[in-house]
């Protein structure tokens, strides 16, 4: 069975998820005695192709068109590549950009698409494992079709290492410019305030469980008592209760403090992506099944409105 994995790059750099897709694709190809093809569209593709030639890769297809990601270009290029390579499984990263073209590619090729895979298996047909209800449960989805497409969750597979003996094959995609109806005009870093949460030794981080903006003072008091820095998960930022540069997670900052105290944070995958490298993780949450307890070193299952003031009291004065 042939697998085609599409790499992702941003502003001149291949992103790690590309190498994870190589690993995921290699597992599938090896299990079925098939080939692993990798594709990269736009940017310095020759340079990218050399880097993508990791252990187990049989071919790297390059589409030299444009400097950076444009979904209208990616859709056309990947559609044509899939037609040419005819893989049983197309792998695309489950990223903001992956989701900006994979559904359109699947639609044009009339391939079933399963998104956000955390595991893949192949036994006569493809089975995809994914999560539901904010990671509370897992489900398996069988793809009853000879050809399918999957978006692969970042950081679930290791990055492929080593050097392969892939052939590098420039692919002459025909890009219809009249169908390129979007233009990337630039990039913007999320505002940097006077606090850099990535530099903090101790982070006191607050999530949806805080319920009301007024209650943030409880968390501020604890942060002060611990001489720690205040950070937050997405809902607190979305509500405008703290500035965006305090956000920990996939779309915010990736932090690696010595101690991370997660208060009222359930531990959604997007949040965990931003803090799992922390040495010591503490969780305070009233839901014993909250995924944050899967990665916490120490935990208290109780009402944060009782525990946080008691903890602050321990460190005061």
């Amino acid at each position: 069975m042939t697998v085609l994995a599409v790499a992702e790059h941003r502003r001149g750099e291949l992103r790690d998820v590309s190498y994870e897709l190589v690993a995921a694709g290699r597992d599938l190809a090896t299990a079925t005695g098939g080939d692993l093809h990798v594709a990269v569209v736009s940017g310095p593709v020759s340079e990218y192709a050399e880097k993508l030639n990791r252990d187990g890769v049989d071919a790297v297809h390059t589409v030299d068109h444009g400097e950076g990601f444009n979904h209208d270009v990616s859709v056309q290029a990947v559609e044509q590549l899939v037609d040419a390579v005819d893989p049983a499984v197309l792998l695309v990263p489950h990223t903001v950009n992956g989701l900006d073209y994979a559904p359109a590619v699947a639609n044009r090729l009339d391939r079933p698409l399963v998104t956000d895979a955390v595991d893949l298996a192949y036994d006569d047909e493809l089975t995809v494992t994914r999560e539901l209800y904010g990671s509370k449960v897992e489900t398996t989805v069988d793809v009853h079709a000879e050809r399918g497409a999957v978006t692969v969750r970042p950081a679930e597979w290791p990055t492929a290492e080593g050097t392969g003996d892939a052939t590098i094959e420039p692919f002459d995609a025909t890009i219809d410019e009249s169908q390129v109806r979007s233009t990337v005009t630039g990039f913007q870093e999320v505002g940097d305030g006077d606090v850099d949460i990535t530099e903090a030794d101790v982070l006191v981080s607050v999530g949806r469980g805080i319920e009301e903006e007024e209650n943030l003072d409880l968390i501020r008091d604890l942060a002060d008592a611990l001489d720690a820095t205040l950070s937050a998960s997405r809902p607190v930022i979305d509500n405008g209760w703290l500035p965006k540069d305090r956000q920990v997670g996939q779309s915010g900052k990736v932090v690696t403090p010595d101690v991370y105290i997660a208060i009222g944070i359930s531990g959604a995958v997007q949040h965990v992506a931003g803090m799992k490298g922390t040495d010591t993780i503490v969780a305070i949450n009233n839901d014993p099944n909250a995924p944050i307890f899967d990665i916490a070193d120490y935990g208290i299952v109780d009402d944060l409105f009782d525990v946080v003031p008691a903890l602050t009291e321990e460190f005061k004065g």
Partner: protein, 261 residues
């Protein structure tokens, strides 16, 4: 200007729950308007308030008991609603993004909107693919994961920010008509006013079957099948403190003092 907003009723699962076959036991779930769709709806309502002659129409796939959730959207400022359902849909185990996009596209073709707003994903099945699939079926342009929107109807362009990973936003110009998938945080969704709730009762909520949309059962056949549902095995090695808040806080404080040294 007409704005079509896709609105989904999602299932929220209690902290403690039981699995019944391929679903969560009914006793442990509640229904709610999808959080991402709240932001998409608010964006549409704000646009309609800023533009004369703008109409906001919601479209939902769901059985008749989703009407209450749809009324919430009407109470927050949508002008009217379309609900797609059919007995045949009740038989579908896994309603995948391609099928949803087929159904929504049928309504979009009837409505012929200038702009379609969807949530980035739904809170329950989190596919995150329906909006872009819908755009492609309609031959519209699109942008996924939009967290800022500046609509220039004279120029026929949506200037958007797309929220990439790692605190970076991509600035993109998208030709209209377009489908934008809206990220949480793009605005501050309103609560429904009492007046809005009252008015919602008299707003149009049209039900459409497959037949009404000119679709047959083949349009909703999917090669995807959900084959299991289970709680993931955790490899948690968390030291959990038990007791009163004072006791647990005291024990945690001891550990934190040690770590800090």
């Amino acid at each position: 200007m007409k704005i079509l907003v896709t609105v989904k009723e999602v299932t929220a699962v209690d902290d403690e729950f039981e699995i019944d076959g391929l679903t969560i036991d009914d006793r442990y779930v509640t229904a709610d308007l999808n959080e991402w769709d709240e932001y998409a709806l608010e964006e549409a309502v704000q646009l309609s308030e800023a533009n004369d002659d703008a109409e906001v129409v919601t479209v939902t796939i769901g059985p008749s008991d989703t009407a209450e959730t749809i009324r919430q959207a009407l109470a927050k400022g949508a002008d009217r609603a379309v609900r797609i359902w059919d007995d045949a849909l009740a038989e579908v185990g896994l309603l995948d993004p391609a099928t949803k996009a087929t159904l929504l596209a049928a309504v979009a073709r009837e409505e012929d909107p200038d702009l379609v707003l969807t949530g980035v994903q739904s809170a329950d099945d989190s596919f995150g693919a329906t909006g872009v699939a819908l755009a492609d079926k309609l031959g519209m342009e699109w942008a996924a994961v939009v967290n800022a929107l500046d609509l220039d109807t004279d120029d026929g362009t949506a200037h958007v920010h797309r929220e990439l990973e790692g605190g970076v936003e991509e600035l993109t110009d998208v030709e209209l008509p377009a489908v934008l998938t809206v990220q949480t945080g793009i605005n501050d969704p309103r609560y429904a006013s009492l007046r809005g709730i009252r008015q919602a009762q008299s707003k149009e909520l049209a039900a459409k079957s497959l037949d009404d949309l000119g679709l047959d059962v083949a349009a909703i056949e999917s090669p995807l099948e959900q084959t299991s549902l289970y709680e993931p095995e955790t490899e948690s090695e968390t030291t959990v403190y038990e007791g009163s808040a004072e006791e647990t806080a005291g024990e945690l404080a001891t550990v934190l003092r040690e770590v800090d040294q």
